[in-house]
């Protein structure tokens, strides 16, 4: 199987005395759904930001599609951003434009695509996400579920191969959660590589091929197949997940 991401001894700390991630080592394979399970504050979001090249590790290396992403040059970064989409935990962070249409058009426009092509891409995405009626609405007037849909649409518009999703089900009502499960399942069936950080065990059970478990010391406790991890109640209890 092709390796999409490879983390080698990655450590990171926001403040030197308090590590946020300690010595992380694992790989992500093409087309798999990898769930990063961990309690609040275990370093899941930090790990995803490192994988998206938004922050640089204090030590170690991260390879995406066989190349290090630590010092990307312009062309390499362009290719990387086209292939990898990142959904932030807080949708308000991600929705910074003044209307939904502009929000979804943002990524393809920044990547230099032709405005006419961008318009048709945005229209298709709005239709496929069932949010065409929201296109002129400002993001702050949307409900939590609608914001999450728009945020996901804003990264799916460029059709990335890999999706890094940070706590996607957080704060969603049952209907929106159901919609998201279905959407993630469709993406998985389309062959997208999904890396999802969560503490939602139901999501892990329904989507995961493999699971990386993080402990409260900000390091990786275990990596394994979905069933092996989710049936190990002692492990889940030790890392504060049940």
């Amino acid at each position: 199987m092709d390796i999409v991401f490879e983390l080698r001894n990655v450590s990171y700390s926001y403040i030197k005395s308090q590590p946020a991630l300690v010595d992380a080592n694992f790989s992500v394979y093409r087309g798999e759904s990898l769930i990063i399970l961990g309690a609040n504050g275990s370093g899941k979001s930090t790990l995803l930001k490192l994988m998206d090249g938004l922050i640089k590790p204090d030590s170690g290396d991260i390879l995406a599609f066989g190349k290090s992403i630590l010092n990307m040059k312009s062309d390499h970064e362009y290719q990387f951003r086209r292939k990898v989409g990142y959904l932030f935990q807080d949708s308000d962070v991600q929705l910074f434009n003044t209307c939904v249409f502009d929000e979804i058009a943002f990524a393809p426009l920044q990547m230099g695509l032709n405005p006419d092509k961008v318009k048709s891409m945005v229209e298709k995405t709005l239709e496929s996400f069932g949010i065409a009626k929201l296109q002129d609405r400002p993001p702050h007037r949307l409900s939590g579920g609608e914001k999450k849909k728009v945020a996901l649409a804003s990264i799916m518009v460029i059709n990335p191969d890999v999706l890094l999703l940070d706590e996607p089900t957080n704060g969603l009502d049952p209907r929106s959660r159901k919609w998201l499960y279905k959407m993630l399942s469709n993406l998985k069936n389309e062959g997208k590589t999904l890396v999802i950080s969560t503490h939602d065990l139901d999501l892990a059970r329904s989507i995961a091929d493999r699971i990386v478990v993080m402990n409260e010391s900000h390091s990786i406790e275990a990596v394994g197949k979905s069933n092996e991890i989710l049936d190990n109640s002692i492990l889940l209890e030790n890392v504060n997940l049940i």
């Binding site: 990142y86 932030f88 308000d92 209307c99 920044q110 405005p115 400002p138 993001p139």
Partner: protein, 276 residues
């Protein structure tokens, strides 16, 4: 200071309400709403320049009627329009202009005597009235523009006229996040109110306001770095690219032709004296 928190929460909510209402009006079918945003922006600017160039009270009276007419046709709520515009132009501008009414600042023929050597002059009264009328008309047009146009459209028009992108992007993002911070601030005040019994001391109120400001500042710093990351993640490289989809239509042509004919006619009346 006693119901300082209630007042603050109320003001925050009313700001939200205003924003909501302005978008509602911008979505109505009215005169201004049917025009291309670029035409709207430029024509409002020209109308403001025209009225500020004139020192004729007849022309300014005509402009007041014209602005009210435009407001009615653009479905701007007339009561709040007249109240808001007049309160700023008449009350605030009026207060600033009080000294210029008197013979000490503006010598001229006496109109009303206040004391033996102090009186309001005719010249002073006329200049003050003209100034207030100019301010009323200018504010009216700005008010009509803001209510009849969505903020996002105004920003797009700015971009079309080559306003530096970094400036328009900053405005764009500020507008987006000001609502989020208003929401956060409103919740902070409500959380405090929910735990507050009886009357608080002024000192503790001040301390709360100062700490809330600090808290918001820290949150805004964190949020700005997160938003920047979200932009980078979606391919932002320092230049904010957008789509502009303006359409110049028949309404715009009619509006432009009407205004040119109207102002040419007012200029030609009395051989151009009406403007001066």
């Amino acid at each position: 200071m006693s119901n300082f928190i209630e007042k603050t929460v109320f003001s925050i909510q009313s700001t939200f309400q205003d924003m909501f209402e302005s978008d509602e009006i911008a979505s109505k079918r009215g005169l201004m709403q049917s025009l291309d945003t670029r035409v709207r922006l430029v024509s409002i600017l020209i109308l403001i320049i025209l009225c500020n160039l004139s020192s004729s009270w007849q022309f300014l009276c005509l402009m007041i009627v014209y602005s009210i007419f435009v407001a009615v046709l653009s479905k701007v709520p007339i009561k709040s329009y007249v109240f808001r515009v007049s309160s700023v132009s008449v009350v605030f501008t009026g207060i600033v202009l009080i000294p210029s009414l008197f013979n000490i600042v503006k010598p001229g023929n006496p109109l009303i005597y206040i004391g033996r050597n102090l009186y309001i002059t005719t010249n002073g009264a006329i200049s003050a009235s003209i100034f207030i009328m100019r301010s009323f008309v200018s504010l009216s047009f700005i008010y009509i523009l803001i209510l009849s146009t969505k903020w996002v459209e105004i920003l797009k028009a700015f971009r079309y006229f080559k306003l530096p992108k970094i400036f328009s992007a900053t405005l764009d993002i500020s507008f987006r996040y000001i609502t989020l911070f208003l929401d956060v601030a409103s919740n902070m005040f409500l959380a405090r109110k929910s735990r507050n019994v009886g009357k608080s001391k002024d000192k503790s109120e001040r301390r709360f306001v100062a700490s809330s400001m600090g808290n918001l500042l820290i949150r805004s710093e964190h949020l700005s770095s997160e938003v920047y990351s979200a932009m980078i993640s979606r391919g932002y490289k320092g230049e904010y690219k957008t789509i502009s989809d303006f359409k110049f239509g028949i309404f715009d042509v009619v509006w432009i032709l009407f205004n040119i004919s109207f102002f040419t006619a007012t200029f030609l009346a009395k051989g151009g004296k009406l403007w001066i």
